[in-house]
């Protein structure tokens, strides 16, 4: 299972805790994880990536294994630790102060 960590607003929307697990068939990529997330939690459609272009929303980042993977190609394999479930795939909102 793939572990995914959500920012607070998405936890509220999806009615889940900080971390969820999703099943991904085939290669573990950003696209595969987001497809699985949106299939499990349809309310998240459009909140992480644009509904039409499927591009990551500009104020969100994807982290894993202490790396910023936001600009990696959506079909690039994610680190083995994410695929094995030992490290989470983290969806992070840009910091907002003020």
């Amino acid at each position: 299972m793939i572990r995914v960590v959500f920012p607070p607003h998405l936890r509220t929307l999806a009615k889940v805790g900080k971390e969820v697990e999703v099943q991904v068939e085939g290669p573990v990529t950003q696209r595969a994880i987001l497809d699985a997330l949106e299939a499990t939690y349809p309310v998240l459609q459009g909140t992480i990536r644009d509904r039409v272009t499927l591009r990551r929303r500009p104020l969100l980042r994807f982290f894993a294994c202490e790396q910023d993977l936001s600009d990696e190609p959506p079909d690039a394999p994610l680190p083995d630790a994410v695929a094995m479930g030992s490290e989470p795939f983290m969806i992070v909102g840009a910091m907002a102060g003020g």
């Binding site: 459009g46 509904r51 909102g93």
Partner: protein
């Protein structure tokens, strides 16, 4: 005994304020959708327990919520707002071409005749309709493909369709206002549109009386007299007696005619309300005094309403969707400020009191009169 329910959208969530018809004691619930900008909430005139809310942030985009129990519980509904066909381009702030991009829903307008039909005015400016209770949306693309659309430019808040007025006497007729394009009318339920800005003059555009390009902030109508429209433009308060075919200025003796809101008394079609703001470069009341102006003559002659409103050191704004009027016999008037106050008057504006004082900045106010 009747009740009133005031629906308040703010920068950090939604609030529902309820009272009996005396409107003296209020129950406040919320925040609903805490931390999100709630641009607008509105209830269906057919079933007042059917509410819609537009919930948005720059982080997570657009969510639409629906309640079927008067706001006690909510469920996310459809949020796919896809322009019909290739969206094309409008003008950006600097005049360069810019692709049409969906940003958010500014205004929700439930149908007057069908419970499951609701309209959404969005940024970048377009009109969408749902016929299944907001689960799915289709664009009424005739507006965005109007011949003038490539010349539309955003106002400071974006290129937003912020006002939609439905004609209760003519099912096919509707009016929209877009900043900064102007007012448009459809006579065939949103399929085709014409610009209706004759008589408007705007100094901030190259041709002050151009067909489009006017920053209309709000229009309103009394349901008993749908051919008469009132408008708060960027500058100027305007009136049309021919369904928008022509407009005349009715700013009269207002101390400044810049502002955002305008609304009409529930029982007196010629009694209208505005909240003058100092200027387009200073978005706060003149001299630090928050004053509602009322005209009982459909404009020109205005009286200042100050009883209960702060008359010194007040520097809030009242945004375009943040005034509403109930339909009780003694008509109630409500407005919200960017300082987080929602003021109410149970006597048509003669006296005012804050219902709440410390909400986040108020984006919109609607009111429902409940049996």
């Amino acid at each position: 005994m009747s009740q009133v329910r005031v629906l308040v959208g703010t920068r950090k969530g939604a609030f529902v304020l309820t009272s009996d018809e005396r409107r003296a004691r209020w129950e406040v619930t919320g925040p609903h959708f805490p931390g999100w900008e709630v641009y607008h909430l509105k209830g269906s005139p057919i079933d007042p327990n059917r509410l819609y809310a537009s919930q948005t942030t720059n982080w997570f985009g657009q969510i639409l919520q629906r309640s079927d129990d008067g706001g006690a519980s909510w469920a996310a509904v459809g949020n796919e707002f896809q322009y019909d066909g290739v969206p094309g381009q409008h003008k950006w702030y600097d005049g360069s071409p810019h692709p049409w991009e969906f940003a958010r829903v500014w205004h929700l307008e439930p149908s007057l005749t069908d419970l499951d039909t609701v309209y959404a005015g969005v940024e970048d400016a377009a009109l969408f309709r749902s016929t299944d209770g907001a689960n799915s949306w289709q664009e009424l693309a005739g507006l965005r493909t109007h011949s003038t659309a490539p010349s539309w430019q955003p106002g400071a808040g974006g290129l937003c369709l912020h006002t939609l007025v439905l004609d209760p006497s003519n099912a096919g007729r509707m009016f929209v206002a877009i900043s900064a394009a102007g007012v448009f009318r459809s006579d065939d339920a949103g399929q085709n549109w014409r610009a209706i800005n004759r008589g408007l003059r705007s100094e901030g555009i190259p041709d002050p009386d151009a067909e489009v390009g006017h920053c209309v902030h709000r229009i309103s109508m009394h349901p008993s007299r749908p051919n008469v429209l009132f408008m708060q433009k960027h500058w100027d308060v305007m009136r049309s007696d021919d369904s928008g075919d022509s407009w005349q200025e009715v700013s009269g003796n207002l101390p400044t005619d810049f502002g955002f809101v305008i609304d009409v008394h529930a029982h007196e079609p010629d009694t209208i309300y505005v909240v003058p703001i100092k200027s387009d470069s200073q978005h706060f009341p003149l001299d630090g005094k928050l004053i509602v102006y009322r005209s009982r003559t459909g404009g020109i002659e205005w009286e200042a309403l100050t009883n209960g409103l702060p008359q010194h050191d007040c520097y809030v704004n009242v945004l375009r969707d943040a005034m509403a009027i109930d339909s009780l016999d003694s008509c109630g008037v409500y407005f919200g400020t960017t300082g987080g106050q929602v003021y109410g008057s149970a006597d048509s504006g003669d006296s005012w009191a804050p219902i709440v004082r410390d909400l986040p900045a108020v984006l919109s106010v609607e009111v429902q009169t409940l049996p």
